[in-house]
Symmetry: C2
Subunit: 337 residues, 2 copies
């Protein structure tokens, strides 16, 4: 408990962070990091991470906490610059686990080219936490002249995903339930700012992006349809799913559309840019399995008098039917991130 | 648990936030808030709040979470602008308590003139949290031409505190231990950006500020002495302490110097500005009890060949002795904020 109480024991902990998460800003010793000016508009986001278990194939809570915030900034068209990191430790959490998590944060930050510039640590009693919870926030610089709000979406635009769906969710679930499934499964947890930058720089003109975390593709599509009053259509056949993920999902009755990812994005591009966008994504290591999965069938907001019922998401199933895609009311996989 | 799992049940929770924490940015429906450009250098900070109990005279965890981050930005000379808020809820946390906390965050944000622009919610199982933990991060705009890093501290500079010490810590302790003490005690939890702005605008030229949270005045002074290799002297007699706080501290053996505050700052000003700085502070409702408590006796870094041992904090006691002030190793009051 002493590590969280503001004394010199806490100072030891802070020194540990500084030595791992090397940043000049962390060494300022002030109550806030003093950062250089950022040209243009800002993006700002935050997420708490409570994933269970803390360590998993492909990552851990530290990597997740950095990537999640980097990705939330990336998909709105921002270059991620600065991260904060606030830890809530449960009394008795092993210091060697903490070191592993910090090292992993540092590595993910290096991969993404961002700096963790400010932080905080609190300690709670045994039974009031679960090892470690991490909350990151991030500041990014918005690229000029880019509108990824979805306001520019038009009928006929194409829906892309950057790779296979559900790897993160099924990795966590398999570990948690000791299912002994699919030893080849790994979380896809990765920083996507490089992939997004490559896509934008290719001139593919994306008009919307979202990372496919909690609630998976279903939540992302339904939110977009609501936000912009769109009718979206996807093809089940086109969804990129690893065989292990597909069979695990079928066996457990979990819809692949709702499975969380930590390194995959949905991209909407104009139809005439779809091929070049796919090519740009596939050139990147994190987008090699990118696919077109559907289209914008109707922009209800634009059609005068269009009934609200027109907005929504439909999936053409493998068997030839059409199924309405809805957001899961309460997902079956809590603490997935 | 469903409220944290990314489904439509979570969407209900988010709507609740939006309706309370009114901000156009919260309504963008994107993965990050898109903010206007900020002129000049930025300040960025974060803190997690795990205070127990959640509600106390003078505030609650929501007010604390907003004020703590506003104050961390204020003391480095930044105008606080935008806050993020990430909640970790324990399964079963009453929604009416959540509403109270959110309303309190909204009120504190209004008081401080900041906007909560982005947020996140996770839910953990019963016994893996403690009602609610809140992590805020904040972005502020640094005032130009102001150096509050302590680099400009000179011998003879005066140490001020903005008001009575220990009110927050003793309020929490009294509640937690059901001591039934001092019914008049209230936490001092307040946003200090107005006070700090008034001080700076008065032309009092502060060269360092810090808010006196975990570890209290002792931690703030010792950190400053370490950071800038200073010898600092304070007068016990000059410390502003309410009678209840003084007697509770004596009875419980808690050094008032180490007690946490949530609405008090340490200010270092040049000697010839001390009177005007005090006057400027006292004109503000939150600085009415401001006092000079000591001075910078030596700037070891500047004195060629000065022994490192010269840096540190000494207190002239009421009884006429001199006592070395050290940081508490591990404070007696965990979860004070």
């Amino acid at each position: 408990m002493g590590h969280g109480a503001g004394g010199s024991q806490m100072e030891e902990l802070i020194s540990r962070f500084r030595s791992v998460l090397k940043s000049d800003y962390l060494d300022q010793g002030l109550d806030s990091a003093l950062l250089p000016p950022v040209a243009g508009a800002l993006a700002f986001t935050t997420d708490s991470f409570v994933v269970k278990p803390l360590f998993f194939p492909g990552g851990d809570i530290g990597r997740l906490a950095v990537c999640g915030t980097v990705n939330d900034l990336s998909v709105v068209g921002a270059r991620p610059l600065f991260l904060s990191s606030a830890l809530i430790l449960e009394e008795g959490f092993p210091l060697e686990d903490l070191d592993r998590v910090l090292a992993s944060m540092a590595e993910a930050a290096r991969e993404a080219g961002v700096q963790v510039v400010t932080g905080d640590t609190k300690v709670v009693e045994k039974g009031r936490g679960d090892g470690i919870y991490i909350t990151t926030a991030g500041v990014g610089a918005l690229r000029e002249g880019l509108d990824l709000s979805g306001a520019a979406i038009r009928e006929g635009d194409i829906l892309l995903v950057s790779g296979s769906l559900g790897d993160h969710a099924m990795t966590i679930l398999s570990l948690r339930e000791s299912l002994g499934f699919a030893s080849s499964l790994r979380s896809d947890c990765a920083p996507l700012n490089g992939l997004v930058a490559a896509l934008i720089d290719s001139g593919a003109c994306p008009v919307f992006m979202r990372d496919l975390t909690r609630g998976g593709l279903a939540a992302a599509l339904c939110e977009l349809a609501d936000l912009r009053r769109l009718s979206l259509e996807i093809d089940e056949e086109a969804l990129p799913l690893r065989d292990e993920v597909r069979s695990m999902g079928e066996l457990l009755g979990i819809d692949a559309l709702t499975m969380a990812n930590e390194g995959k994005i949905l991209v909407v591009v104009p139809r005439d840019k779809a091929e070049s966008a796919l090519a740009a994504l596939r050139e990147q290591p994190l987008g090699r399995e990118a696919r077109a999965i559907g289209r914008v069938a109707l922009v209800a907001g634009a059609a005068a008098g269009a009934a609200d019922g027109a907005a929504g998401v439909r999936m053409r199933t493998v068997s030839g039917g059409v199924r309405r895609v809805t957001r899961p009311y309460a997902e079956k996989l809590p603490r997935i991130c």
